[in-house]
Amino acid sequence: MQSFSFVAAQGEVNIRKIDAVPAGLTPVKPERGFLIVGHSESGHHHGFRDDGGVALMERTHDVPSGMKILYAIIENPSELIQDAQNAHEGILHDPGIYEFRISREYNPFSEEARRVAD
């Protein structure tokens, strides 16, 4: 398991430690005990185990085209994991406030941005 101070990335999930959450966020509910930060087509989601120490929220306004942006208030040290056989290594998050930007790519054929699919 890796740890970091300010900026990290787990696959397509870009993580930044920030000072405060913005207003107007939508809470994210756990799915089968898992708070999903990054959905995967193959079911190998990135997220936190829902053990009560993480509150996850999604920004639904002013989100750049093709992206998803989420925030977490983390009370206890928590590991961002990927649920997969050949998983990206886990990343430890100390208590604090974090922003997660799910990266996007550009399709030159359709000339539009889309979330990176894995």
């Binding site: 900026v7 990335a9 787990q10 870009n14 079911g43 290594e89 990266s103 550009y106 990176v116």
Partner: protein, 421 residues
């Protein structure tokens, strides 16, 4: 009187553990023909636990044929004579297959299912099913069997471990047996099969009875029994049923009046890291012709492997999934990819992690597309498209700027991750 907990393995048990794990891994990926009598005896025990009589078993060659069997049989009326039955089976199945499967596989699956059903007809299965065919097919035993052989069984086994195994030893055995076998058997093999069933665009049947792939947790409790953890008679019997099924066949679909059970695959191939992988052949093959192609754990289109010399860089880079693209680029080879795409480097950051910004000529586009080529710790080299201009109206001309665009930040605000996994 309380009994002392087992807190460590003996030297003999420590030596036995890796051999035991390997033995169950081999059972979990066995490609031998199913041991049908053994499986059917265990199925009968499972039904008797619920107070039910044993039911007929239809054997099929793969979970895909199992899904086809369900899709076909549910359309059959209860009064069909054999000839009518065969005709309606064929019509129904072929209509279903035409919609979603290529011709070769369609014929192969049909042959396989026809053979399975012919065997069942000979065994007078239909007579025993009587008029309740349609109902019995769809009345799943899910909750009752699940409680008997899954939820309450595992809860009971786990509670027994708590009584007799030290916490540290229990955690260590769980890590060395469950985690490692689950990686290969459940997360690797079973998940791949489920994903391919979903991709078949056919109406799929779910089952959480995985037979040989359930051995990842069965092996754990078996080893604990071997080192002296006692289970209740009922729990030990349930574990033994799951063990017997795991040693005999693959997935099975229990229903109120019948069971559809699957043969094992005919071939399973792994790389050195035990990820499903076939350099020039399918990673998983079934006897009915269903094949799944994997490149170091990533599912790729069949022709990328079967017709490898014809795979082009343009096809790879146009794929919508970044992991599949990364796998395709490995199959073609990066030097060939860049050469074939006439890629020109616009900016090289000097760091594999930040990467290089490339201009790539693509068939169908009248001007080169911009792509960021960078190293991913898990997938190797990946390429992702970027636009000419970012959200702030600034032209993207460096790899670092492309990285900022990927996450929707102004280049002045972007800091490259200090840790990447």
């Amino acid at each position: 009187m309380s009994v002392a907990k087992i807190t460590e393995l003996t030297a003999e048990q420590r030596d036995e553990l890796p051999i035991f794990r390997q033995r169950y891994f081999e059972h979990g990926v066995s490609c031998e023909a199913a041991d049908r009598p053994r499986a059917e005896a265990a199925f009968a025990r499972a039904y008797r636990r619920l107070g039910k009589k044993p039911v007929p078993v239809i054997w099929v060659d793969s979970p895909l044929t199992a899904c086809l069997a369900f899709a076909t049989l549910k359309n059959i009326g209860s009064n069909s004579e054999n000839e009518i039955l065969r005709a309606s089976l064929r019509d129904s199945l072929e209509a279903s297959l035409r919609a979603s499967l290529r011709e070769g596989l369609r014929d192969s699956l049909w042959d396989s299912l026809r053979a399975s059903l012919r065997d069942s007809l000979r065994d007078s299965l239909w007579a025993s099913l009587g008029d309740s065919l349609a109902d019995s097919l769809w009345a799943s035993l899910g909750d009752r069997l699940g409680d008997s052989l899954w939820d309450s069984l595992r809860a009971s086994l786990w509670a027994s471990l708590g009584d007799r195994l030290g916490d540290s030893l229990r955690a260590s055995l769980r890590a060395s047996l469950v985690a490692s076998l689950r990686d290969s058997l459940a997360d690797g093999l079973a998940d791949s099969l489920r994903a391919s069933l979903r991709d078949s665009q056919f109406e799929t049947q779910t089952t959480y009875w995985w037979g040989q792939q359930d051995l990842y947790w069965v092996a754990f409790y078996k080893f604990c029994a071997q080192i002296g953890v006692p289970y209740s008679d009922k729990a030990a019997d349930g574990l033994d049923i799951m063990h017997e099924i795991g040693l005999a066949c693959m997935w099975w679909y229990p229903r109120d009046g019948m069971i559809i059970a699957c043969e094992r695959p005919s071939a399973i191939r792994f790389d050195d890291a035990k990820r499903l992988h076939g350099e020039s052949s399918p990673a998983i093959e079934f006897r009915d012709g269903w094949k799944i192609y994997k490149w170091h754990g990533t599912t790729v289109p069949a022709h990328w492997i079967e017709n490898r010399p014809t795979l082009t860089a343009s096809e790879v880079i146009a794929h919508s999934n970044v992991e599949v693209r990364a796998a395709g680029a490995q199959i073609v080879g990066w030097p060939t990819m860049l050469d074939e795409l006439s890629a020109e480097t616009i900016n090289d950051s000097g760091s594999d992690d930040v990467g290089a910004l490339l201009a790539v000529k693509l068939r169908g586009l009248n001007r080169p597309g911009k792509f960021l080529k960078a190293q991913c710790p898990r997938n190797g080299m990946i390429v992702e498209g970027v636009p000419d201009v970012d959200d702030f109206g600034l032209p993207i001309e460096t790899a670092l700027h492309a990285q900022a665009w990927r996450v929707g930040l102004h280049p002045s605000e972007y800091k490259h991750p200090e840790v990447r996994t």
